[in-house]
Symmetry: C2
Subunit: 317 residues, 2 copies
Amino acid sequence: MLALRVEKKSVSVKEVEKPDRADEALVRVLLSGICNTDLEIARGYAGFKGTIGHEFVGVVEESPNHTLVGRRVVGEINAGCGKCDLCRAGDSRHCASRTVLGIHGRDGAHAEFLQLPTVNLLPVPANVPNEHAVFTEPLAAACGVLERVSISKSDRVAVIGDGKLGLLCAQVLALTGASLLLIGKHSSKLRIAERRGIETATPKQAAKRSKQFDVVVEASGAAAGFALALDLLRPKGRLVLKSTFHGKTEMDTTRVVVDEISIIGSRCGRFTPALELLKKDAVDVDSLISEEYALSKGVHAMRRAGVKGVLKVLLRP
Amino acid sequence: MLALRVEKKSVSVKEVEKPDRADEALVRVLLSGICNTDLEIARGYAGFKGTIGHEFVGVVEESPNHTLVGRRVVGEINAGCGKCDLCRAGDSRHCASRTVLGIHGRDGAHAEFLQLPTVNLLPVPANVPNEHAVFTEPLAAACGVLERVSISKSDRVAVIGDGKLGLLCAQVLALTGASLLLIGKHSSKLRIAERRGIETATPKQAAKRSKQFDVVVEASGAAAGFALALDLLRPKGRLVLKSTFHGKTEMDTTRVVVDEISIIGSRCGRFTPALELLKKDAVDVDSLISEEYALSKGVHAMRRAGVKGVLKVLLRP
């Protein structure tokens, strides 16, 4: 089968063996999405070698759990050991010996087939098209912010970064009823949020609102975004770190201590709330799709996904 | 009256006017304690000029509230505007226009007299000697950790730093019943905690316990302490930042996001819990007193407080 592979910091589409573990489900990929993490991995992040990709929708072809066969599914990307306290409590996201689809120890979704444990798979509601379902994983990551901080209607919330993740976070957090500001540099991207009734600002405009926010979500992945986030927070405010950064980031610890700021890391979210939002069509994901390519054009697609202004690039096997 | 002043990064004992605001209480200082923040201020931190010092016990000589006159008191160091939402809710610690005793906009405690609003003053229980009462402010700061994170008996907690603040934090957190490890480099300081039944380790020994702690309190003020703290935390662990650092500090944001760490700034604590602990003699502060000097020897005392191995230096007007 065809697969988009990263080996020695080089990306290529290759013919590889179809996965064949009998204890996991075999999923035929219908559509996969290129994430910024894929671009980072291609640059060496996480030291991963193999098939990349962790956003997908597919159909189960084989499974130890026969009721899944033929079902259209999405899949949680962390596959736990199943034995540790965390896994037994039903949350493998921090299992110390987990593998992660297309990121750590497990071939990923930019391929004709992938495999995952059956517990990771969730059927997709019939009214959700593939082009929406493929956003389940990043939308779950956006919903994951609400697993890490509680937000009330009276909170003033800012999201920094108008990329895919920032646009999803802004839309999800706007649904809480809190007052929301999306901060970004690209008017075409900000317009996607504006069409949903979300207020937007450039970083320069936002900087005038120092210490006015209860919660700031940093989703730009830039050191400047982190510094702006700290500046926007009121004393005792909460900063949700949603993006890993390029390299290490400087932090003004005096500000964090004196104003008793909380900095809260947030990674993967649960899929169920994301599927609910897609089922209700509560989030605009259509506007986030920039381009679509055949899997065989995966190398070109990766290059396009890294171009400024391009949002989600999809691959169709 | 005599006062220990910082002006143009230089420390000196000077004769100054006695404070005379009629709307605040006038307190005759019995004893004051030199804090690391005093040393930082002398180096230029916070841009403060005036009388330094914020740890004290004294006697009220004059007060708009006559019931306080003649009472032995300690005093919360943040003096709020009294009008904003925070102040009206009874917590001036984050009032945007607050002054802070000996730190920001208000002369401090290393003097014969100081003044504070009457609402800031708390009577000292009769059984608490001056040499203990003078620790109320730093002990309150240690108790303040528990205002920012909840700690249960099943939590594994580490405190990094065997200075005054670390030793107070370790003792306070040990009282929660959680398993506690104090990490420091100085065996004579660690012994103070060991005598209270607290387990101790050097940073090198502690580094072998990577990802094993639920809560880590960083009280060393060193960048290496911050890096160790991140390393010791389990996924979803909580890092309490108790010290400001010298300059800006590098943070491994990837670790914070991937392992969903929370970094929680903590500054001042409420005085009431600290006075309760002193009243019950639940914390050993005697062992933290290294030296005592007359206020007139304040410059020498500041120098001594900065010497490695020296813990609390007290000043007696």
